[in-house]
Each structure stands twice: as C-alpha cells, then as structure tokens.
Amino acid sequence: MLDYKKIKLDFPILQTQMNGKPLVFLDSAASSQKPQKVIDASSDFYRCRNANIHRGAYRLSYEATDLYELTRTKVKEFINAREPEEVIFTRNTTESINLIAYSYAIKFLKEGDEILVSEMEHHSNLVPWMIVAQKKGVKIKHIPLTEDYQYDYEKIPDVLTERTKIISVAHMSNAIGTIHDLKKISYYAKQVNAIFVVDGAQGACHLPVDVQEIDCDFYAMSAHKMLGPTGVGVLYGKRELLEMMDPFMGGGDMILTVWKDGYKPAPLPNKFEAGTSNIAGVVAYAVALDYLKSIGIENIHQHEVEILQYAIPKLKEIPFVRLFGTEDFSKRGGVISFLVEGVHPHDIGTILDQEGIAIRAGHHCCEPLMKKIGIPGTARASFYLYNGIEDVDALIKGIEKVIEIFKLKEKRYITVQK
C-alpha cells in the first residue's frame, strides 16, 4: 500500500470535517480532491503570472503561454502521444467526446453507418453519439456484456460490421469499476477500419495510459479527476484525423486568418481551442501531473486494488449488502457499487453523510446500465491514492448504521421497487 497517511496531509480538504465528523472522502470517481501544490499553482498564476496567452507582446503574456504549452508537453509525455499538437485542451471529457462527435462523426458518417458502444457507458459516451445518430441516420449498436459486467469480447464479432465506423468505450466503468481490455477492442476496430475512441475519464487518473500502445484514435480525459482543477479536459487525437476534421467552435485563437467572408483555421492544436481557455487551470494541471508521476500511476492502481482486496471480503460479510462488479480484481479499479437490500441508495447516502462519509448515490450517469441490472441506482464508494484502511472501516461502520436505522435485523423488509 502507498503511504496514504502521508499523502493525505498534502490535501487540505481531507483535514476538514463534514457534519461535525472528519471527512471520509469516497467520491473521487466523481471528482478528486486537490493537493495544496495544485491549489497554490492556480492562485500563484493569478497572483503574479496572469495574462492572456498566444497574443500579448509582453513578457507576462509570453511567459503565460510557455506555462500553458508546458502542460501540453507534460500531457503528451503522460499518455505517450507522438507530439504535443495531438493534445487538445477542452473543458472536460464530455466536451472532448462531443468534439469528436461534431467535428468527426457528423462530418464523415453516412446514413446506415454504425457506432459501437456498450450499455455500461457513461451518458457522456452515449448521448453525443445519439445526437450523431439522430442527425445522420446512424445506428448505435452495443457490445454484449458478461454476467459480471465486463465486455464480452468473444461476442464483439457478432455486432461488428463493415458499417461500423466508430467504436467508443470507457477505459474503466465509473459505475462499477470494470477495467476494459482496450487492446482487444483496438484489434476489432482495426479489422473494420473503425475509429477507436476511448472515454478515459476514469482511465488516466488510475491506470497507465500509452495511446500508442493502445493504438486508439482518440482518448478523452478530465483534469479534475486526476488531482487537477475543474474545467480542464484533454482530447488526444491522431494528427491525421485532427487534420481532417472541421473546427468544433469558431472564434479567436482558432484561426490563421480571417477576411470579409471567410477564414482559414489555425494549425493544430489551436484549431480546436477557440477563445480564452482555462489558462490558470491548465497551468495548475501540470503540477497535478507531476504529483501523480512522483507517486507513480501503476502504484496508485495497485494501492486501489489492495483497498478492494481489504474491503470486498468485509462487505460481503455484512448481511443485506449486495455488491456489483467483477471480483476479478485484475480487471477492476477502486470503485465499489453496492446496495443495502430494502434501503434506497439516497437514504444510504444521507445516513453516511451524517457520519462524515461522502459517497455517491444514484445512477452515476449510467441509466442504461442501471436499467439493465434492474435497479434505480446504487450507492458508490470510490477510492484514490489518499484513501486507506480507515476509510473502508468508516464506510463499514456507516453501513452498519444504515442497517440499524432501517431495523433490517429485526424484521422482514419489503422492497418497494419496480
């Protein structure tokens, strides 16, 4: 295990209380907390380095530009892209996927073409494709799932056709933590010449990413899930694809030249970065990447698996607790989706909240998956490098409190569900 107690000290919010109890933060899959260094980088930028980038004829501006571009280089190294120009800054993973949908899919897909996703995807890897489907008469197909909610790789050929133009899947499921085998998917994408998109919202923060090894065409991720600021996302794309695509948004910074009735877009990466971006956020993101690198992503993943190895057997011992997700920990990240039988996830969330424990309750933006399982939602505890044994113990005590309040030990409960 990592020295999580020491790591915790780097995160000021983890020294605070919630509802009068020490904060036990188990919702990093929604957004991670930020180390002091990242917070400082953002405020330092505003305090003494703030200027708009790419255009000022003065030192502050070109130094700000250098800092902004330094993050691009660091992202390039972090995911092993070929060149910094393949790294586009967006607001978040959602915007990155929308960028592909609007600038690639709407331009190149034709009626009758197919996009392959799965029922496990986050809404942000479903709805943009639904928009494409509506606009272009494209069909959306789904990769079959196994009983323990992995992609059923052997059945992919059944849903793959010559008309499959895009395959878009998550690196890791935010709802139940399954880690997907991207190289297998990549293999199938190659077979039909489909574009391979990875929703890396839960990927780059917990797992090593090498876009060249995965051989994906696009990889989308968010800084805020990896210790960085909110409002900063990344779209990695292969140069030849990014070159073919139309700009996503028009405005300042994305143009080479504009005349009375036309424009010429800027070269990569500016072509896709219209308007002033979250400069301070991008600058602070570099510090988050350095922090992750200093700990080592592989070590972080291993740490989360060890938390699972400690937590899952303990949770299984608690009567009324129902767990979701694969028990093959080699294919799972630090996410525990669970229910207490007879108790609605929101009630679990409220009771834990009063104990200072932050979890998520609901469908986790994965309504199709919840509908497939046949539940309205789950309670979800998710772990990161700053979580440890004590946090799991607090969670278990909290769940016992839920069972006590709902008197599950004393009487038979009736589940009021559809």
Partner: protein, 152 residues
Amino acid sequence: MSLNEDLYKEIIIEYSQNPKHYGELPEANIHEEGVNRSCGDEVQLHLLVKDDKIIQAKYTGQGCSICMASTEMMSSFIENQSLEQVKSLIDLFKNMIMSKEDISMPNPYEDLEALKGVKKFPIRVKCATLSWNTLEQAIKEYTRNKPSPTTG
C-alpha cells in the same frame, strides 16, 4: 437527537417498509405521474374518484424511504375524502414542510409530522413533497377536464 434520527423516525421506516397502498388500481379514473429529475424518484398515483370524492388511492413507482413513506401516508389519508378536503390537506402538509415555523398536523393526520425532519435537510424536501405535488396536479387536471354540471 442526531440529524439521522430527526430524518429517519421509526414511523417513517415503518410506513416505507409496509406499503399498504402500493400497486396498480385497474378501476382508477385518474392517473398522474411525478418525477424528481435530480434524484430519479418517481411516483405514479392511481385514484378512483366518484362524486368529487376519492374512493380509493394507490401508487406505483420507486424512491427513497422519505418519498415512499410520504406517499404511503398520503394515500391512506386521502381515501374517502372529498376533493375539497384533500386540497386543504395538501395545503396543510406543504405549509408544515415549507414554513419556517413549527406547525402541527391536526388529528387524525399527526403521523405526517414525522416528515418534518426534512426541514433540516433542504435537498430532501422534494422527496417528501413529490407525491403531494403530483396529487395537486392530478386534482387540477381532473377539475379542468370534468364536464361542467348541467342544470335541469
């Protein structure tokens, strides 16, 4: 008393775990659905109304214990009540939940006071009021669509 105990009173757990009015009502002549978009709670009310009186009330749907207990209590209190009586009960209940003051419920509606705990949990107020708002909407629709009484 902890905040958890304020919210999850025994009576609430009791009502939510023993839903006597849960289910379809084939003879119902009013159906109305209410959804809390932010949390996904949903309630479908099925009411049999005759001569401006609720003869029978049932509901389907899913939600947290606050929502389900509130819906169960509501359903039990509105049966055999005139629409006018029901409307004033809705007002009374919503006033109890929304008012800054501590408002009591008259006999025989005292059980509803158990839901007062949501006042300390602003995000849970909508759980307690979902079925009541849905009922209010149902009565509005019913009254609007009802043929006006003919004289002679």
